[in-house]
Symmetry: C2
Subunit: 110 residues, 2 copies
DNA sequence: TTTTAATATCGTAATATTGCGATATGGGAA
DNA sequence: TTCCCATATCGCAATATTACGATATTAAAA
């Protein structure tokens, strides 16, 4: 079908899945890494750094923006994108607290 | 096209993106949470806990197994699935080290 | 105003994903 | 062996994703 069932899952799970899905693409993950490592937020050269056409990069950017992973402001005819720390931390917390729940020794020896 | 470009990205990014993509689905994320919280690894009742048909759950499980997020052993005619701590920690490390690189104050005020 | 540069959106074709029923598989029980 | 039971796989239909070129948008520059 291609349609993802959503009802029956908690909204927390659904929301986190959406965020992780957005990150689950080489280009988008590379964009995030680039934004993290770039000294400033100007990202006009993102297209040069990715093996993709400008329109494709723009589409990936809007997908990241849609789930709140990045924020952008228009300054002149350039766009400054930057990481949304709030959402990024949310992911961090999600994995850290989940990991804590893996009681050592309870994992089976498969 | 539907085909994801891979060449031009580091294998690290590509691999991590595959893992995150696997997690980027409500059912699969719910499966992971269930496996983390379940006292033991027997998961025959996973189907009862998810609003999906048995065949669909099985498909999601194999997808998680494909990227190494879970491991499974056959004991009799039951299957025990459990989290692969190694891969799970890899994700944890990825986000924690990435976050460290976000120098406070450098994030722009968008 | 016209041009230019940067980014966004549209239209499309190709491929991937999702979900389910039906069926296969494989081991234990009768 | 034959019958269950749990899980995996297949086949299909519907939808989603991806990538790109072409085009639109928007604001600064000339």
């Amino acid at each position: 079908m291609g349609i993802t069932k959503v009802d029956g899952f908690t909204s927390e799970v659904t929301q986190m899945a959406e965020i992780l899905k957005a990150l689950g693409h080489p280009a988008r993950l590379a964009i995030m890494e680039y934004l993290i490592n770039s000294p400033d937020c100007i990202n006009g050269d993102l297209v040069d750094h990715l093996p993709l056409a400008q329109s494709t990069v723009s589409r990936h950017l809007s997908e990241l923006k849609k789930v709140g992973l990045i924020k952008g402001t228009i300054t002149g005819n350039c766009i400054s994108y930057c990481i949304n720390d709030e959402v990024w931390n949310k992911i961090k917390v999600f994995f850290n607290t989940s990991s804590d729940q893996i009681t050592p020794g309870k994992s089976c020896a498969c």
